[in-house]
Structure formats: C-alpha cells, structure tokens
Amino acid sequence: MRIGVIDTKACNLNSVLQALQRLQAEVIVSSDAAELQHADKLILPGVGTAQAVMHGIEHFKLQDFIVNSTKPLLGICLGMQVQAQTSDEVPLKADFNEIKTLGIVPGHVQKINSQGLRLPHMGWNTVRHTDHPLFRDIAQDSYFYFVHSYCLPLNDFTIGRSEYGQSFSAAIARDNFMGVQFHPEKSGAVGSRLLQNFIEL
C-alpha cells in the first residue's frame, strides 16, 4: 500500500507525513502527476488559503489528474474545501469575490456563520457521522481537531457534520473522493484511527 501525498507547495506537509509515518505507511510525496500515478491512494493536504492550494494545483497541472483519479483520495482541511465548486475565501483586496475550485462535490465554501462565536473555529469539536467506512470503529460525537474560518455547508455528500454557530460538513465522500475538514493528523487516537481506516479501505 503506497500513499501518494500531493504536494501543492502551498503548505507544510510535516504533520501529515509524520502521522503517516507513525502508521508505518509507505509514502511518496510529489507535485508530479506521473509520479503520483504509482500511488495506490492519494492525500491532498491543505493549510493556508484556498487560492494558494488552487495555484499549486494549476501550477503543477494536477487538476485533471486529481478530478479524473479513480483511486481513493482524502482531502484534509483545505484539501476537502477545494473539492467543492467555489470558495468565498479570496485574498484581501482581491478584485473578484469567489474562487473556482475542483467541483468534485456540489457546493460553495463560505465563511462560517458562527453566530458571534469566535473565529477561526479552532480546537476540539464533535463529529456526528453516517457510519461511512472512513469512520469505522470511531464513536459518534468523537472530538476532532479543527482550525478553519470557512466551511462547506451540509450537502448530499456529507458523511460527517459538526456545529459551530451553524452546521457544516466535517467530512464528505463521493465515489472515491473523500474529505475531512478537521485535521486527523492532530486529532489524537481517533484521528490516527481515521487515517488507518483510509489506508485500509
């Protein structure tokens, strides 16, 4: 089992790589679709901004590779958000008001309507899931670690939901594509379990 970590050069991959090492997974890290072809499964990490991740995907001509992939793919945080169609997360002073993302699942990423709760939504929050295999042996309302200010609302492909002022997609799945808003690599034992589940799918 070889896990390909897609490096968009938009973020620090350390945490994800260290988590995979702790699970003794065989890992290749690359920005090159030809190399990533040799992986059995793919992880798309994302810390930073939606635009930085999309720039990386475009710069390394990874968009076709990702959206046409038939291998299990797990997006983490922004790596999940960019699977939606568009995102409101534009740079300050931008002359446009949304960013086009991969469009693997329907929906529009928007600022969390936190009802006055502090943003970013940062810390440990509970996830209610639909018993998707990604959550095998993970109890309902387990706590996962989140750091984000934007979210994907609930949709037909939501497999885990959380609440922070509003309900939002904490995890999604469509065919071979999966994504989690939280950081499994920082979510203690349940996070490790989720990554292990992905490896074992």
């Binding site: 350390n14 090492q21 709760l117 810390g123 440990w124 929050n125 509970t126 706590y143 750091v147 203690g188």
Partner: protein, 257 residues
Amino acid sequence: MLAKRIIPCLDVRDGLVVKGVQFKHHEIMGDIVALAARYAAEGADELVFYDITASAEGRRVDRSWISKVAAVINIPFAVAGGIKSVEDAQEILAFGADKISINSPALSDPTLITRLADRFGVQCVVVGIDSYFDAVSNTYQVKQFTGSEQSTITTKWQTLAWVQEVQHRGAGEIVLNMMNQDGMKNGYDLTQLKAVREICQVPLIASGGAGAMEHFYDAFTQADADGALAASVFHKQLIAIPALKQYLKEKGIAIRT
C-alpha cells in the same frame, strides 16, 4: 460545541523539562519527548513548550527537539521562547509546531505580533503575558524577561491594556500567566482572569496556580477560560489527566475524553 482544553506546559531548558516555583528555582523534571508522548497518550488536548532560557539570555537555541516531539505526538502543540522574528517562527513551524507563542519579544517590538499574524495566520500566533499583581499599587503589571529572577523587569504596560493591544495587533490566542500564583497550587487568580476575559475576544488560556481539579473547573465556569494550562501538578503526577477530564465531564464541562 468546542471542548475546553487541558494544556500541560513543559518548561524546557537545554533539552530537558524543568519546573520552577514563581518562575524561580528550576528543578529538572525529565526528557521532553517522553513526557510529551505521555501527556498526548493520557488525553492532553494541546501542549505548550516554553524554552525558558531563550529570551532571558539573548542567545539562539537549538530547536531540533521540536521535530522529535512532532514525530511522536498526534495533538497540536505550541512552542514559546526567544521567537524574535518571522524567520524564528518559520523555523519552529517547519520543525512541526502548530503555533508559536511570543512574550518578551512582543513587548520589545509589538509589530512582531502583526508580522507573524500576516505571515502565518492568526491561528498560529499566541501571545503569552506574564502578569504580576502588585499589592502596593493594586495593579496588574506586565513583566518581561521572566526566564530568571535576575533578568525580570517590570514593563510600562498594565495587563488589561496590553491584552487589548495584542488583540488589536493580531494575537490569535492569549495565555495569561498569573505570576503570583505560579507553582503555588492555590488556584488560578479568578478575579484577574475574569477581568481579562471581559475584554478578550480571542481564546484565553489560564496559567499559573492550578493545584486541584476544582481549580480547572473554576477557570472554565467562573471565568469562561477556553483552556487551562498547568505544569507541576501534571509533571509530579499530583493530578492525572484522565481523572481530571472525567471529573470535568461529570461536572458538565464540554471535555474531550
């Protein structure tokens, strides 16, 4: 609902965990990586590592221990001590820390807070405040260079004013070290904590004085702290993290168990 956080703090000096009383008399508590791994396994929600010698002695420190910690633990952690520039912070984050926490350098150059927030995002930037209650003047004073007793100075800032200043400049979280209580195990200074909470819109972490489980409960219920940080009670195993979290959960606090 966001869980309240239990945060063991590991004061680091020369690659070892140490702990002092009222920021003095440091004794060696053990190996960083082993202690970090133990806390993560026991259910700590986050860890904070303070390199207590860095700021006081003005030297560059070997931070390679950070990558060893990052390799073994699967929870978020912050590193503090001697972070004077964007480059210092970059190095620490590259080693695998999730947050950087600045204290004395922010007092020397408050623009550092904004530069760090702009570069890495507010979620990465914690400002630690060493606050001392001066009974004579009946004020809370911000202290600087508290790594050793000799180096500690009183700044021009009163605590509440500095709390507002750092938020204005981009602090994403504040750790309030209430120095009079530090290591005394008499409980957090709830009067001070409540006063800071009233003006603090970012996550607020109580630090200094935890000695019993109810002290954590008080910080969460009476002062609405987002997290509670403690060192000696965990290092000396006076309070076990699983028992503490069970106690808080049974008392109705949102806690990750």
